[in-house]
């Protein structure tokens, strides 16, 4: 069985940022809970882009958060990040 998007993302985060895998849950906020800063997140984005064949729209997300149109939870809580990845993967096949 293919591992879930969350499992893949959690593994990427654990390996990229040297965070124990068992501390990473679907409810974890990458920034607030796991302490990942924006530079480290570039490495995660790179690994996600490669693994899923997508391009995480980090600039758009950042702009939306800065403009108050979105919250960081929508993009950086891992279950939500995983859902966004699934959407991008689905959009790729359209």
């Amino acid at each position: 069985m293919m591992s879930s998007t969350f499992d893949q993302v959690a593994t990427i985060i654990a390996e990229t940022c040297d965070i124990p895998r068992d501390t990473i849950t679907p409810e974890s906020h990458a920034i607030d809970d796991l302490g990942i800063d924006s530079l480290d997140f570039l490495d995660i984005a790179f690994a996600i882009d490669k693994a899923f064949g997508i391009k995480l729209p980090l600039e758009k997300w950042t702009q939306e958060v800065n403009d108050g149109k979105a919250t960081t939870e929508q993009y950086f809580v891992l279950k939500n990040l995983s859902a966004r990845i699934d959407e991008l993967v689905a959009a790729k096949g359209e």
Binding site: L39, L42, A45, D49, K55, L56, L58, E59, K60
Partner: protein
Amino acid sequence: MQLEYFQLIDRIVALDPGSRSITVEAQVPQQSTIFEGHFPGYPLMPGVLLIEAMAQTSGWLLISLLKFERMPFLAAVKEAKMRTFVTPGETLSIEAVIAHEGSGYAMTDAKISVGGKLACNATLTFRHVPFPNPDLRGHMEAMAKRIGYPQQASS
């Protein structure tokens, strides 16, 4: 190279948007105050400046791909290896290729060769943002002209 102005690239030899690669040339000066300290009686081009030269080379490639609309800034240096000594007067051939283009960031693989031999290499990460002010953009455009930036490259 004009080390005192941090201008480490002399000339763009080739810039190919298709293969997303660039090759530039740079000559290490014979004289510089830097060599008085690094090291007394044994002048060597500092590794950090070789990394900067690879970053500037990658930067021109990125500026080209970003159509002179955005400015890349060095954000991370990975797997940097200084394989041989680089000494005053040597001519460097510096190459960079895009390893990944993300949203607002990019990674390049860059290397420096001297006399056909690999001297150093690194994987570099850049964040890029719209030019923060017109002055900087004007300065970069003027510098592009000076180092032989091919005009058709960003059209």
